[in-house]
């Protein structure tokens, strides 16, 4: 399917809006993870607004596509998207990480639209394998999408899950690797290199699509390649920039797990008002 220039422009505007919400949410919360939320904005915006088959007013609709944020620390992004789709009112976003809030510091099923909790890294791809197996058992056509962090794939369980997904020929499963090249302690290649990452997934029997994770045309085309796949699970290796969209956060490791101050928030929002 071809997307018009206008549609791509609309997605870009949506992405800016999502980024603004992420910044505002984190300033309100006073803690959280901006870097890895901002890096996956385009991929997940494209998924939520162009691909996802869901009914925000019927969260348990059996045919819904499943999305699981295995990198649970990127939940500000998830919450912004869910509120935009109408799963809950946008005001809820300002309660992120507060006592008794429906928006926990890492995803929790009390949030409408969250399928399974996450936060302890390495488990989400297994969860997605379970969802994909259930879809096949029930003869339902839904797809399962799983967002993985790049540091996360250092967890051994990810590879147990990868092995089982291809063994069970789960072509209804699409993993997305948000490859922003940073983890908490620094650059991935300096902490614990995950390269050659494409070869690893290929060796585990996956269909691998490598893209620029901030380019909507490439993102949408990757999802279409996944939809056409009938044999194997798919992983989209998305090269991204940590902190993308806010000049002073881009590729700055410090913003993995530190929320912007009010002052930094103002500067960030100013940047995001423009057409960047």
């Amino acid at each position: 399917m071809n997307y018009s220039e206008q549609e791509i422009e609309e997605l870009k505007e949506k992405a800016r809006e999502i980024r603004r919400l992420i910044i505002q949410m984190l300033v309100h919360a006073g803690s959280g993870h901006p870097g890895g939320s901002l890096s996956a904005v385009e991929i997940m915006t494209a998924l939520f607004f162009k691909k996802l088959n869901c009914r925000p007013n019927q969260i348990d609709w059996p045919e819904r596509d499943r999305v699981h944020f295995s990198k649970g620390h990127a939940c500000p992004l998830l919450y912004a998207l869910l509120s935009k789709l109408g799963y809950f009112p946008q005001e809820e976003l300002w309660n992120l990480r507060k006592l008794h809030s429906s928006l926990q510091g890492h995803p929790d099923r009390r949030t409408p639209g969250v399928e399974v909790s996450s936060g302890s890294l390495g488990q989400g791809l297994s969860v997605a394998v379970g969802m994909a197996l259930a879809g096949r058992l029930d003869r339902r056509g839904y797809k399962v999408y799983c967002l993985l962090g790049d540091g996360e794939v250092q967890e051994g369980e990810v590879w147990e899950a990868a092995m089982s997904a291809s063994f069970f020929r789960l072509s209804n499963l699409c993993a997305i690797l948000d490859y922003n090249k940073f983890q908490i302690d620094g650059r991935i290649r300096e902490v614990m290199d995950i390269e050659p990452i494409v070869k690893k997934w290929e060796a585990f029997g996956w269909s691998v699509i490598e893209i620029d994770g901030h380019n909507f045309t490439q993102i949408l085309s990757a999802f279409e390649t996944f939809e056409a796949e009938k044999e194997k699970p798919t992983i989209i290796v998305a090269h991204t920039i940590k902190g993308k969209g806010v000049s002073f956060m881009e590729n700055v490791g410090d913003f993995h797990g530190r929320a912007p101050t009010e002052e930094e928030g103002k500067r960030a929002l100013l940047e995001l008002e423009g057409d960047g």
Binding site: V116, G119, Q123, V129, G130, L133, L137, D138, E157, M163
Partner: protein
């Protein structure tokens, strides 16, 4: 004498026939855990996950999130130890319908030795919110526990052993309810699993010495039947706990917590493995070596009555 796991395997098939949402996972031990019975009857609803317990537990959570009732089996050590974080964060936190039925618990695993003898699993499972912990005493209770687990909302851990066990005459079973198998006013013995049988034998020996022991089958460790624990503590001189598990954190720990809080001053003696690893040997000789014989229960009860 029957294997609890044979009964488990047959019961699973029974459940599988009645409920199409029941799915079973195993980690390359299906012939030992007897999930192979289910696999043979319902191959499309059985998944052998290979030697990968962490993946198995989180896959179970994913299946449960889509409405499946998932039975997960492997040896107790690998189920609870290897995959604890997955059980805590992805199964219990979400209160999913995942029923972990682990076999080969305790020292009676025998010749395989310490690496395969789970003596900490009750403690590991009991501490997790929303998890229920059941230790059936025989094959009859095994069947009842498995049937109850299907009806029970949320995660359940069922602990089974490796050797054959003798059936008790007891027929009652309800999650969260202990059963008094023998009345007595001098001392109480609260036991679970194979130690229930030993406790009944111990009570007979004590009776010949003029000590009347009450014997309780505490088949649910969590939620523990506080009422019966406190009746035992208040109506007799003290309580002996007996379990094929570490004396730390299991049945003895659970009973001690209740008594320390609500019946302070009452004595508790814990029969179990005394903070040690096991070793290879025949099950019966290991039970004696590690202080899990009926004589050990008798001695603990005598001590309470002397004090």
């Amino acid at each position: 004498m029957q294997y609890q796991r044979d009964v488990y395997g047959r019961t699973l098939v029974e459940i599988g026939r009645e409920n199409r949402d029941v799915v079973v996972l195993d980690a390359d031990l299906s012939s030992s855990t007897r999930t192979s019975f289910f696999a043979k009857e319902f191959p499309e609803r059985f998944f052998n996950m290979g030697v990968a317990e962490q993946n198995m537990m989180a896959v179970a959570a994913g299946l449960a999130s889509c409405g499946k009732i998932v039975f997960v089996s492997t040896f107790a050590l690998f189920a609870t130890g290897r995959a604890w974080d997955q059980i805590r964060n992805t199964i219990c936190y979400n209160n999913f319908d995942v029923k972990i039925v682990a076999t080969h618990s305790g020292i009676s695993v025998g010749a395989d030795g310490a690496s395969h003898q789970a003596l900490e699993d009750i403690a590991l499972m009991r501490v997790i919110p929303q998890m229920k912990v059941i230790v059936p005493a025989d094959s009859i209770q095994t069947r009842q526990a498995v049937l109850s687990a299907v009806k029970e909302r949320g995660p359940v851990y069922i602990r089974l052993g490796r050797p054959k066990v003798e059936d008790l005459e007891e027929r009652r079973f309800e999650i969260g309810k202990a059963n008094v198998l023998r009345e007595g006013e001098d001392v109480s013995i609260i036991a679970c699993g194979v130690m229930v049988k030993h406790s009944l034998e111990a009570a007979k020996i004590l009776s010949r010495e003029g000590i009347q022991a009450r014997v309780v089958n505490m088949s649910t460790i969590k939620p523990i039947d506080e009422k019966i624990v406190l009746e035992c503590a208040r109506q007799t001189k003290g309580v002996v706990t007996a379990e094929e598990h570490s004396i730390i954190g299991g049945l003895g720990g659970a009973v001690s917590e209740v008594i320390a809080e609500f019946a302070p001053g009452k004595r508790v003696k814990r029969v179990g493995v005394k903070d040690k690893f096991g070793q290879s040997g025949e099950p019966a000789e290991l039970m004696r070596e590690y202080g899990l014989g009926k004589e050990d229960i008798v001695e603990a009860a005598r001590e309470i009555c002397r004090s």
